[in-house]
Symmetry: C2
Subunit: 321 residues, 2 copies
């Protein structure tokens, strides 16, 4: 274990829990603790609880003076403004000044970005994108997030919100209703709830036997579909094929725009392995423009899935502070 001076605190703010970790330059999580993101409805109070916990951990481990700062990953976190803006899954509403408040309460440097961007930093600093200057990380969970790195820098756009690949419209006519209020967004097809919707549609429209017919539609998860597909269930495999095709076209289009060296997939669906990656890579090669063929690798994230958010936030601090 490499206890150098470049320790950072990585914090992953989730709707339910907030993870706090002390991470070294090599990406080892030296210590990890979880607090509830719902322990108080008062945002200022939450920041004080969080800051006290961070300082307590640093003190207890004898790391005082060795910590370079804090990296925060949060839904709708804006790197430019240091605020979280209208995050639907957090109990505090409106525009939350996370960076300024935590800086004041902890007397440490603080930097923040959204969770998908943090995942991109994590992949670049500790994962499979080490040494790459042009790559993309796609997070497949309840939604589809993306962090795009161009020429070694995260693409934030002029307002800090660039990289919303999940909200690229992929179905102009008759697209699925999205949580954003529009229709046909990529994440309505390619996400955990997206593949469940696909399965329900296929089960309704097709006559084939399927173990998924034994699962209540309201309780079906993407994991049920993945397990069925791995056991050669035809409808479940069709769901992955359909999902892979939608994602492949979106990635081929993204490659035409940003021409990355690699695209990493992380999150639940990405753990499905070959049942997703095999059709995805086949369709990608079929749809990508000739000059980009064979240039972009499509890979699974090399960060441990249950620590992506925390390591990403730590990597942001490692990179920026």
């Amino acid at each position: 274990m490499n206890l150098n001076k470049k320790l950072v605190v990585g914090i992953d703010i989730g709707g339910t829990n907030t993870e706090i970790g002390i991470v070294n330059e090599g990406g080892d999580i030296l210590f990890k603790e979880t607090i509830s993101s719902r322990c108080t409805e008062n945002f200022e109070e939450f920041i004080h609880i969080l800051a006290d916990k961070i300082l307590e951990i640093i003190d207890n481990l004898g790391f005082k003076g060795m910590v370079n700062g804090i990296g925060l990953g949060a839904p709708n976190g804006n790197y430019y403004t240091g605020t979280v803006e209208f995050a639907p899954n957090l109990i505090w509403k409106g525009v939350l000044p996370f960076v300024a408040a935590l800086k004041k309460a902890s007397s440490l440097n603080v930097v923040m970005t959204n969770d998908a961007n943090a995942a991109a930093f994590g992949e670049g600093v500790y994962g499979g994108a080490k040494g790459m200057k042009h790559y993309v990380v796609i997070t497949l969970g309840t939604g589809l997030g993306s962090g795009i790195v161009c020429d070694g820098k995260l693409l934030y756009g002029h307002d800090g919100f660039a990289g919303e690949l999940g909200h690229v419209i992929v179905q102009e006519e008759g697209g699925r209703k999205c949580g954003c209020g529009r229709y046909g967004c990529l994440e309505t097809y390619v996400s955990a709830p997206g593949i469940v919707k696909t399965a329900i549609e296929f089960l309704n429209n097709l006559q084939d036997d399927s173990v998924l017919r034994n699962v209540s539609p309201t309780k079906m998860t993407s994991l049920d579909i993945a397990e069925a597909a791995q056991n050669n269930d035809k409808i479940a495999q069709m769901c992955f094929d359909f999902t892979a095709k939608k994602l492949a076209i979106a990635l081929a289009n993204l490659a035409a725009i940003t021409s990355p060296e690699a695209i990493f997939l992380s999150g639940g669906l990405a753990n499905s392995g070959n049942i997703l990656f095999k059709p995805l890579i086949n369709y990608y090669n079929q749809y990508v423009l000739a000059i980009f063929k064979g240039k972009t690798q499509i890979l699974a994230s090399q960060l441990k899935d249950n620590s992506t958010g925390l390591l990403g936030a730590a990597a942001l601090a490692q990179y920026e502070l």
Copy 2:
């Protein structure tokens, strides 16, 4: 006229003609001359003719020692390698070492990029994007090109070919055949030949009167359609509405990925004015994700259309050398 030390040579390599211009820091073209791009099938010989012409112009104008270098804009020009790769409209085939050869023949610094990227430099240095760090320039001609500027730098991707917005697939099923060999690319709908195809389809499928029925389908141009639309021809206006909608969705998707401050349109179709921009901006506002609403201006290029390529190449040299 500002004859400062920062004079550059801008060169726009086209399939038919090559334009050579001496440009000052303010974007004034002090002198311009055209040579044929088809004067010799020998690439090395062409470079020597070009270099001699450049040096002759500099000498004749008394600008010796005042020229900072040469900027080249060329179809399929690669900024990283300094080569033009497999450009279908040039008479020299394969990989052409434009930068190295012209550097040697002229003893001047040379830098090159493709024509759409050059247009983006031109807009940033001399046009409407002055002072902007995040913007996109779309060139609408025989094809659809794009130059994307993020954080003040052109987005080249890891191989130098990023920014191929014209080859984003916008129609998954039943899309039009594209010159690239695939189906449903944006430029099959949004380009001069694209809108002509749309007009021919509408004329075949609809019964409405139209002045376009008097034009031979093989001779119809986008200008015919623009003129008819300006004279309230219903089918011609439907063509612009259809084209605007396809482009609007593509731009809304691009905004979700790169979040630019402005998107500039240049080239023939962009000169159609309100018959394109009015439905384009309406559809864009309808399709763009809520967090980006009202943040990205959609504007006409502020470079004179017949000098976009030359000014873009000059701006590249101005910026890089």
